[in-house]
């Protein structure tokens, strides 16, 4: 017994060293950046630009992360194909709705209605792809060990990526630019790109909407019940299969909408666009505490912020070349740091204890 305590101490020391090393590097970088003014001299406006870029990217991550978190909540399964749900809806809606609407002039004449139509189509396609994937690749394996559906999810991810590549080709497809969203707004004296503002506002609205849906509606209650215990939920008269399908559909709808917001900001879509945001959103979901909706939102925002602000703040001061290239290094190091302090993520608690 005493042997074990000694080991824990030893490991504890190593972990402590690890944390301290990261914190020291971060602080040293920050201090030499802000006070010793190493490298580029950023103005306050520059820092605000970094913040806005991070927050808008982060809110996209948050929307995608919701899908991971919801599915994880009910099935304890990493749905690797979620990034592909995001891509499929966006590509289809861009090609068949957004581009024709834009070239006919409808989109600029009725921007709100036009965007609504595009978003709804994207959501529908994403939901369709998600339900099909769930039915074919996940449902037959509901009782298999957890690694098995992980592999079918990876398979589904490859399949959809290359299916849509075959369908629409591998070229980059431009997303139409909305005339009303060109330029900047000034909010409290801060200039902010219109597209980014719209993304942030839309994300917040969707997040709140989803939260209400899960917490206040009957279907949401059913989802929570299934997440708690499938068998007891079934005994209470809940159709478990249907509820799981609804969970997938909800996540995919969020992803489809996020895809159109993505298209609006970056104005280009292609078949590979789901892969990296998918991984990032998965990271965000874990960071926030997988299975928790506010966690996914917080995790997404945190990840987006750290990716934008981290390189100039932490690394440039240390004289590291090509700092922005290393944003993923910072993001994942922060992830490790957070998980060492809080192994269950920022707000996750319930699920980490249960089975994660």
């Amino acid at each position: 017994m005493s042997q074990r305590f000694k080991d824990i101490d030893y490991i504890g020391v190593v972990l402590w060293l690890f944390r301290t090393a990261i914190v020291v590097v971060v602080l040293w970088g920050t201090i030499s950046k802000l006070f010793l003014e190493q490298g580029n001299a950023y103005t306050t406006i520059d820092w605000i630009d970094f913040l806005i870029a991070g927050l808008s990217q982060g809110s996209l991550y948050a929307l995608i992360a919701l899908g991971y978190t919801l599915v994880y909540g009910v099935l304890f399964m990493i749905n690797f194909a979620h990034g592909e749900f995001f891509m499929s809806g966006t590509m289809t809606a861009t090609i068949f709705v957004a581009l024709p609407l834009s070239s006919s002039g409808f989109l600029d004449a009725n921007p709100i209605l036009g965007m609504l139509i595009i978003i709804i189509v994207a959501m529908l396609v994403s939901v369709g792809v998600a339900l099909l994937t769930e039915r074919v690749a996940y449902r037959p394996l509901r009782r298999a060990p957890r690694l098995v559906p992980l592999i079918t999810a990876i398979g589904a991810s490859f399949f959809w990526q290359y299916f849509f590549r075959g369908l629409y080709g591998s070229t980059l497809i431009p997303f139409p630019e909305l005339q009303v969203l060109v330029g900047k707004w000034t909010v409290f004296g801060i200039e902010i790109l219109k597209t980014r503002a719209v993304v942030m506002v839309a994300s917040v609205i969707m997040l709140i909407g989803l939260y209400i849906f899960i917490m206040r509606t009957k279907t949401g209650t059913a989802i929570r019940a299934v997440a708690e215990d499938k068998d007891i939920a079934a005994l209470m008269g809940i159709d478990v299969d249907r509820t799981i399908s609804i969970t997938f559909a909800t996540g995919a709808a969020m992803a489809g909408a996020a895809g159109i917001l993505y298209g609006m900001v970056f104005r280009q879509v292609h078949f590979f666009m789901g892969f990296v945001p998918g991984i990032k959103a998965f990271t965000a979901a874990v960071l926030g505490g997988i299975g928790s909706i506010p966690g996914a939102a917080l995790g997404g925002l945190f990840l987006g912020l750290i990716e934008a602000v981290g390189p100039p703040l932490f690394l440039e001061g240390l004289g590291i070349p090509g700092a922005h290239q290393l944003k993923d290094v910072i993001a994942f190091t922060m992830l490790v740091l957070v998980l060492i302090f809080r192994p269950q993520g920022i707000v996750g608690e319930r699920l980490a204890e249960k089975k994660a």
Binding site: E191, V265, V276, Q325
Partner: protein
């Protein structure tokens, strides 16, 4: 019982084999062997280009260039021309595997490829060691034609990064008169090579590099690195020799960053394609792109583009289809030059002869310019053109 059947089968096959082997007249005197093509057999060439993964666009576009070159040629010395397309995966192991596959087929005469320089390094070694020859349409890494590292069977129609990066630096300093520049690369050997060469040449010519930034090729938001660059100078000239997705993203987002609104944008042939213009839209207006002189308005290229659209239903998706077209023609011309022909139509092609003919290519008129190879396999027209995007088209403005 099984064995008996097997033996019977084998003996039947052997008898047939003997019957099929008639007399033959041509004799191979080549130092590293010959390819013999029977009267009805096609002339077989291979390609090893990236046709899977995120860089698919680049390789498939080149492969289409090869296919169109073959279509245009129709027949060669009375034989059909057939292409065996392979995938280089845009990585070293893909280059190695596809090259090994190609050299294991003695009927393959030469290879067009690879797409990526990383795949080209191991492929060049295998192809050369086995007596084959390859012409790459898009390897630009200086190492491949470095006198110390060059492999005997390696040639390319793509520009060496050294030429192109330097040309852009000269243009920026001498023609545009800028003194402060920034460069961005995405961690790919091609873009990193170009950006480094540009930055060295720019400083050598008396300019100042205010920033040298790197962005992950898969990044989807580049506002942060662009803000960093703006704060560093801001530069008058921003050079980002990357591929289309990241290139169009930088082009569009540069407008949205304070301090970069007036900056001169410039990229390289990685984005020189209609699909870039479509993706980048108005933001690309006025930017500069270095690359081969595609002779816009050149008759062959017009014919090529029409055939491309007809056959594949899309505009070219990447810039190297023209290089691939020229590479294929180089190989076909060399075959035509060195093949010995028997009366019955049998062809005999000496592998060393073919290599010699390829390296002796001189003054060939291709889409990418006049092609002349040096002893290390650099065949691209050393003249680099700078085009400007005007009215959603590339317009050549220099030299």
């Amino acid at each position: 019982m099984k064995r008996t059947i097997f033996l019977v089968l084998i003996s039947i096959l052997m008898v047939m084999g003997l019957a099929a082997c008639g007399g033959q007249a041509l004799e191979c005197t080549d130092a590293i062997g010959c390819v013999e093509i029977a009267p009805d057999d096609p002339i077989l060439i291979a390609s090893s280009l990236v046709i899977s993964g995120p860089n698919t666009d680049l390789g498939l576009d080149s492969q289409y260039g090869v296919e169109i070159a073959i279509d245009f040629r129709g027949e060669l010395l009375g034989h059909a021309i057939e292409l065996q397309p392979e995938d280089d995966g845009c990585n070293a192991e893909g280059g190695q595997t596809s090259a090994t596959k190609i050299v294991s087929n003695p009927q393959i005469i030469a290879m067009v490829g690879t797409s990526c320089s990383g795949a080209g390094v191991p492929a060049a070694k295998i192809i050369s060691d086995n007596g084959y020859a390859m012409v790459s349409p898009s390897n630009t890494a200086p190492a491949l034609t470095d006198p110390e590292l060059h492999e005997a069977g390696y040639l390319r129609t793509a520009h060496n990064d050294k030429v192109q990066g330097r040309a852009m630096a000269e243009y920026a300093i001498n023609e545009l008169g800028v003194t402060k520049a920034a460069a961005i690369h995405d961690g790919d050997p091609y873009t990193e090579g170009l950006a480094s060469v540009f930055s060295e040449a720019f400083q050598e010519l008396g300019g100042e590099m205010v920033a040298f930034e790197a962005i992950d090729a898969n990044a989807d938001d580049v506002i942060a690195p662009l803000t960093t660059i703006a704060a560093a100078g801001p530069p008058e000239f921003l050079y980002y020799p990357v591929f289309i997705p990241l290139g169009s993203l930088i082009t569009k987002q540069a407008q949205e960053v304070d301090g970069l609104d007036g900056v001169i944008l410039a990229a390289a042939d990685g984005v020189q394609s209609p699909s870039f213009l479509e993706a980048a839209g108005d933001a690309a207006e006025g930017m500069y792109v270095s690359g081969p002189d595609l002779g816009f308005g050149n008759e062959t290229y017009d014919k090529f583009l029409a055939a491309y659209q007809e056959k594949y239903g899309t505009e070219p998706t990447a810039p190297f289809h023209a290089h691939a077209f020229d590479a294929t023609n180089m190989i076909l011309d060399a075959i035509e030059k060195v093949a010995q022909q028997a009366d019955d139509g049998t062809l005999l092609i000496g592998r060393q002869d073919l290599r010699d003919a390829l390296f002796a290519t001189s003054g060939m008129t291709g889409i990418t310019g006049t092609i002349t190879c040096d002893q290390y396999g650099d065949c691209a027209d050393p003249k680099i053109a700078v085009s400007q995007v005007q009215g959603a088209d590339f317009v050549k403005i220099w030299p």
